[in-house]
Amino acid sequence: MSLLLDAILALLVLAAAVRVAAGGDGFARVVAFMGVGLLLGLIWVRLAAVDVALTEVAVGSGITGLVLLQAAADAPLTREREVGLLYHLCAGMVGLVVFAALAVVVLLLPDPAPSLAPDVVRALPATDLGNPVTGVLLVFRALDTLLETMVLLVALIGVWSLSPDRHWRRAPAPLWPAPPSGALDFLARVLVPIGALVGIYMFWAGADVPGGAFQGGAVLAAMALMAMMAGLSPVPAIGGAGLRLAVLAGPFAFLGVGIAGWFLAGAFLDYPEGFEKTVIIAVEVAITVSIAVTLALLVLGPPMGRKA
């Protein structure tokens, strides 16, 4: 019975994905893509990966969708090339080969499955964390997460560098050009405080149950964007010292902890014994702030000339 539900879910994802790839109206394709993201979130829950489900829905579908919707508004300007039937057939063949290769890999996975779960169980008590995924992200594979925060920072620098010189240090264009309506204003006033609470809770609870810095940060970013869309809060100028500090706090606090690990614990990104939980929470607070601010700024895009 549950396999039937899983199969229906899989078919829905596939249908929506085909709609995304089928072409046509940019707006419809982006909405179909956001649908794929939400359905994938359900599939991640079925795969017992609730942390990933939250990330997929918040970042992969929600915030990515917001960025893509902005691109869809420009889509009529971007039509570039036409391809022939033969090319379509060749592309279809390549797609089939990719499917066949991955399907063989999936069907021939070794049994019993190799797993790092026992290693995580053995090492997790030392971190005082209850959520193994948070343990992997912030302790066992902390280097990945450090580099990931750096990737976000570099992406933001890349986006900002697309602004013409004369607009540098000014504010990005507002997401919503029309004056805010009463309904949007009301929604933002009700939703933003609740959403901010949810975001902070997701970050805080992430130590022991599904959640964490990325999921919580994404919800906080969405709430900030909502407040800006409703005109409750101005779009910040990118030259502000506070804003830049918030963007840099996470990656550089994490890097600082990593370097301190050399002196205090004998290895890069090693946490001093007895203070693991304290250091982990301090790093998590810093990266949550940076992730929330960076995600929101990535959605807002490069500065566009308005003085803040």
Binding site: A21, W44, A71, P76, L109, A113, V120, V136, V151, L162
Partner: protein
């Protein structure tokens, strides 16, 4: 067929749709969308591997899960940068007088600098 195998195969299918879309996408937005579908498919294969690696009291191996969370955020960063480039390109093309010299009669493929409808006439 078990759920991890089913969703692993779905991941393979999503990857295939993504590769196909990347190849035939007619505009930059189509290719950005296809790139994200491809990523989603690869992540799902990771998810199947993680679920199969359940053990030691966990319903799924936490290491691949953490890698996927990292991957989703990195994919978003790449998407945001790509969309910013796309919008900047559109703004440059829409600007009057920004038409490159080789625009005249540009119907052939690969004319990246082609001026857009509105500036074309």
């Amino acid at each position: 067929m078990s759920a991890p195998v089913l969703f692993g195969l779905l991941g393979a299918a999503l990857s295939a749709v993504g590769v196909y879309g990347l190849m035939v996408g007619r505009d930059a937005l189509a290719r950005i969308l296809a790139f994200n579908l491809l990523g989603g498919g690869v992540f799902l294969v990771f998810g199947a591997v993680a679920r199969r690696g359940a053990g030691a009291g966990f319903a799924a191996d936490p290491v691949p899960q953490a890698l996927v969370i990292t991957g989703i955020v990195v994919a978003f960063s790449a998407t945001a940068l790509a969309v910013a480039l796309l919008k900047r390109l559109a703004a440059l093309r829409a600007r009057p007088g920004a038409a490159p010299a080789k625009v005249a009669g540009a119907q052939a493929e690969g004319t990246k600098g082609r001026v857009q409808p509105g500036g074309d006439a």
